[in-house]
Amino acid sequence: MAGYFKKMYHSISTVLTGLGVTIKYGINPKTEVTQQYPEVKREPPDGFRGKLFVDINICTGCTACARICPVDAITLKTVRDENKKLRPVLFDIDNARCIYCGLCVEACPVDNCLYFEKKYEFSAYSKQDLISHFGLGEVKPAESKTEDKKTEAEKEGKEAAQ
């Protein structure tokens, strides 16, 4: 019999303790932690891994990023221009496939060439809209010698970034 009432006391007291915790939140609007997103936007910290951006003018076309990418999100096609320099004519990043791991950014040998923007809201109605095109388009080739290095990440032993 004593156990019966003890149990009852225990139940009631713990339930009331719990109710005490929630009512503190219930009546105090200061406990709110909600950030009203479209109006209040938090600036992502430095080094945030958002959308990839390529400064195509300083890209050397080394394809290090395309080779290191674990998911083949980068499609790169390079052509040698009249100065015999490699130029990326096609540089597509499929944001729908990118996993934002940062390996390509670390692999890029040129400073500030391939980097993450602090931009992360770019949903789209179509999957095609999620591919960002950076390529230079047509570049006058030196001779008719083109090199197609489209996503040949499989070349073994040649993983060197430089």
Partner: protein, 372 residues
């Protein structure tokens, strides 16, 4: 209502039975429409309030984009649900599936009828009001089982079985604890019960303060009432994490909305019974004795009644967002091992009290000691 009809009819010169019948029907339809509109509005706001209360307790905001402070949220929800595709599962028992939501809703709406909202405002002044409420609220279990069985879904069936077991069991502590209060005014008429609770600064003659037994009866009733309307911690018939959505798993659109609204309707009804029987109904606290115009008194009374009901509903919401859920056997244990014996002993105690002291409450005794 009946009084109103009588008054109008006696005031009329015509004696044509058909006209009288038509007028009666007209008044009934109009008043039903008003009550329906009010109850729908209440149910809409209750869903909104539930989400806001949940938001407050969970340190977030809740709906605030639709209309000012998100007040139109329930309009959007309602219109959307109305326009949703109406799916009746192929293997469902069509008729049971279709009529179950209507029965649930009708029943919860019918329970609004005998409530006394103020001195003069009530739809039907039944002299067996309490009995009627208890009787009508147990029809819900049947309708839920119909819907659950008709869905032909195993999770629904689980929900339906649980709901019936739960509602049927919890009727007993509810009735026993209500009896402890009813024997004092010795009436089943809700208005008589409220009228009995007047005086004593407007709060001390409430039945809940009448004697220690009614105080206990109030808590027993409130706990059992939460179970009766399937709210957490007793929400096992629709336990989301266990049986998906319980008895309304297969319901879409408006049919689901009926179940949903009925839940909030039931919440109002059980809270209203608690307010009426224990908390003095529409008795205005403290300033009830001051003379004031009839219209002001009526408005105040309605306001006081709804405030009491909404406070109780808030407590239900507060409990819902705090406590974990009981298991089905523990739910039964709580009913049969704790609430029912307590209510039973409580009823005996209250009877002895009434036998010895008639209808004198603690307040009356103290008041008499002091005035002497």
């Amino acid at each position: 209502m009946t009084e109103l009809i009588n008054r109008i009819l006696t005031g009329m010169s015509t004696t044509m039975p058909l006209t009288r019948l038509l007028i009666t029907i007209l008044i009934m339809v109009v008043s039903t429409a008003i009550v329906l509109a009010v109850s729908l509005l209440y149910e809409g706001f209750a869903t909104y309030a539930e989400r806001k209360v949940a938001g407050d307790i969970q340190a977030r905001i809740g709906p605030n984009r639709v209309g000012p402070y998100g007040l139109l949220q329930f309009v959007a929800d309602g219109v959307k649900l109305l326009l949703k595709e109406d799916i009746i599962p192929f293997y469902a028992d069509r008729w049971l599936f279709i009529i179950a939501p209507y029965i649930v809703f009708t029943v919860s709406f019918a329970a609004f009828v005998p409530l006394s909202y103020s001195d003069h405002v009530s739809i039907a002044n039944l002299n067996v009001g309490v009995l009627y409420m208890i009787a009508i609220s147990s029809v819900v279990s049947m309708a839920i089982l119909m819907g659950a069985w008709g869905s032909n879904n195993k999770w629904s069936l689980f929900g339906g079985m649980r709901a019936v077991a739960q509602i049927v069991s919890y009727e007993i502590p509810i009735v026993l604890s209500l009896l402890a209060a009813i024997i004092i005014p010795a009436s089943l008429n809700l208005r008589d019960i409220i009228a009995y609770q007047s005086g004593g600064l407007g709060i001390f003659r409430w039945l809940v303060f009448n004697n220690p037994f009614t105080l206990i009866a109030f808590f027993v009733y409130f706990i059992a009432a939460i179970a009766e309307v399937n709210r957490t911690p007793f929400d096992i018939p629709e336990a989301e994490s266990e049986i998906v959505a319980g008895y309304h798993t297969e319901y879409t659109g408006m049919r689901f909305a009926f179940f949903f609204m009925a839940e909030y309707g039931d919440m109002f009804v059980v809270s209203a019974i608690a307010a009426t029987l224990f908390l003095g109904g529409w008795q205005i606290p403290f300033i009830g004795g001051i003379p004031m115009p009839v219209w002001l008194r009526e408005v105040l009374q309605i306001g006081v009644f709804f405030t009491k009901v909404f406070l109780l509903i808030y407590v239900m919401m507060w409990i819902r967002w705090t406590l974990p859920r009981l298991r089905v056997d523990q739910l039964m244990e709580l009913c049969w091992k704790y609430l029912t014996p307590i209510a039973l002993f409580n009823l005996i105690g209250a009877s002895v009290w009434v036998l010895l002291l008639h209808d004198k409450g603690v307040y009356d005794i103290i008041a008499r000691v002091f005035t002497r």
